[in-house]
Symmetry: C2
Subunit: 300 residues, 2 copies
């Protein structure tokens, strides 16, 4: 049941065709934690600077998220990201990024977190991702995310990481970049040769694709007509998926498929409002209802 | 059961990353008829020039396709299309197109075809599509396809057509162009306001989306790793869908969903080889097997 996540915590400025939102709470570990906490207790490891707004520490007030691993580092500044979806709601253009505290040493995993069985390494430098793994006693499922930057500049370290994880989650452009394959099924199969037992390719509004040695399956996105801010959709997807898996005893194809469907549904809430607004507006009952709606929409 | 199709019949030259194929048989009505004939008898209406190759008249030799409505017009030349998928397997770039006989008067619908209950108006000029409708006695289901060219140049005629049909099939770019809506669910709903009872938006490798007043559902494409030539995928999809519908008594949401799944599966065969090679390589048993595989891949 113990689900650990490490990743970025940041302050975002997001521009969409519907307006600009300055200094809102964001970061991969934040979206992941909130999404996963609908399913299982979450242990969050991350670091912010001393400028972190008070509201950040209240995000998880009513949630089962253990923030013991949230370090507030003196003399450092919080990670900031400024992105725009004005041209394309499917792909953020980074206007400005200040790594700040993320460019310093990684946060520590608290002693009482080290027995975590389920681990999600949200997107960050692959060397830091590997460091995190060293401290874990007997992880049962390790899944990582990555990004184009590391594929381009740190591919050797990324390949080392891939040999140590069970699952990789990445988007379609990244999968093509990592493997040089245009066809996504081919790309997914090539990723498996690099180490992971399964790979999930996120395709934004087009859903996702899962590939393991035995199985390949595809799921469409939940048909959402309310898309206000896509920031955090991928992390919320991963949170829903890992949160559900952490409550299950097996990783059978059927279980993974149900987990992907939960990820899909949670992501559909995440994009319906700015920052965490979409996730905050829902609860487990609504998620379950939408999950059943989604399931029946696809059975024929 | 009587399924009528009118549309283009042509000679294609197709370039893909795997090679160039000159003077192969193509055209929307050809792909549609072949695909639909796995399910129901098809009545084909179309016109070619006197230069049409002998092989064209043998395409349907072993198929239940009535070619009484296939006119060979003296003094005219057959429609030719030269397209390239070298840059992007998802979207053809037209290198050259010679409308030839397609720019002349429409072919006639034979008297014994006029009682057809199921009708597919494959992509052609919306005025010609409307003319076809006039001759039909009591059609039960009329579905049309269209293209960006008519949306841009003949939108008034296209809108007249939309008031006379039950369903419209078009691709994602065309749906956005017709409605000015970026979000595909919004675009689909706007299409419904123009007349059709349902709209199917084809998204190529990302599957399709169906929208009616009551229902919205999405299906992923069959996860195909063998994509040799995408020409005719959309027409084969429509053929599988309409062919199956023509064998059913109802248009319930479940029936339409099953029909879309058959279209998806038939399209996955169509793209696996050049010209009609992919469709010719399969049969109804294989299609049914893949349909069940697809169905089970998506149930969770």
């Amino acid at each position: 049941m113990s689900l650990l996540v490490t990743g970025s915590i940041g302050i975002d400025t997001v521009e969409t065709p519907f307006g600009k939102h300055e200094d809102v709470i964001g970061g991969s570990a934040i979206y992941f934690s909130y999404a996963a906490s609908f399913f299982a207790p979450v242990r969050l490891v991350g670091v912010v600077g001393e400028d972190a707004p008070r509201s950040l520490f209240k995000v998880f007030d009513s949630r089962d998220v253990d923030t013991t691993g949230l370090e507030v580092r003196k003399g450092s500044k919080t990670f900031r990201w400024h992105g725009s979806y004005v041209k394309d709601m499917n792909e953020a253009v980074t206007v400005e990024v200040d790594l700040n505290v993320l460019a310093e040493r990684a946060p520590k995993i608290p002693e009482n977190f080290r027995d975590s069985r389920y681990v999600f390494l949200a997107n960050t430098h692959p060397v830091l991702q590997q460091e995190m793994l060293c401290c874990l006693k007997h992880p049962r499922l390790i899944v990582a995310d990555t990004m184009n930057l590391w594929i381009q500049t740190e591919q050797q370290e990324l390949r080392k990481l891939l040999k140590q994880i069970h699952g990789l989650v990445l988007n379609d452009g990244e999968a093509r970049m990592l493997t040089g394959k245009k066809n996504l099924i081919d790309a997914a199969r090539d990723v498996l040769k690099l180490g992971p037992k399964f790979v999930v390719i996120k395709k934004g509004e087009h859903g996702c694709l899962m590939c393991s040695e035995r199985d390949t399956f595809v799921l469409p996105a939940f048909p959402a007509h309310k898309v206000v801010d896509p920031t955090g959709a991928g992390d919320s997807f991963a949170g829903g998926m890992m949160g559900y898996l952490a409550t299950q005893g097996t990783f059978s194809p059927a279980t993974i498929k149900r987990a992907l469907a939960f990820g899909t549904v949670v992501a559909s809430y995440a994009i319906a409002d700015v920052s965490l607004g979409g996730l905050k507006s829902t609860d487990r009952d609504q998620i379950d209802d939408r999950w059943h709606e989604y399931k029946s929409a696809m059975s024929f």
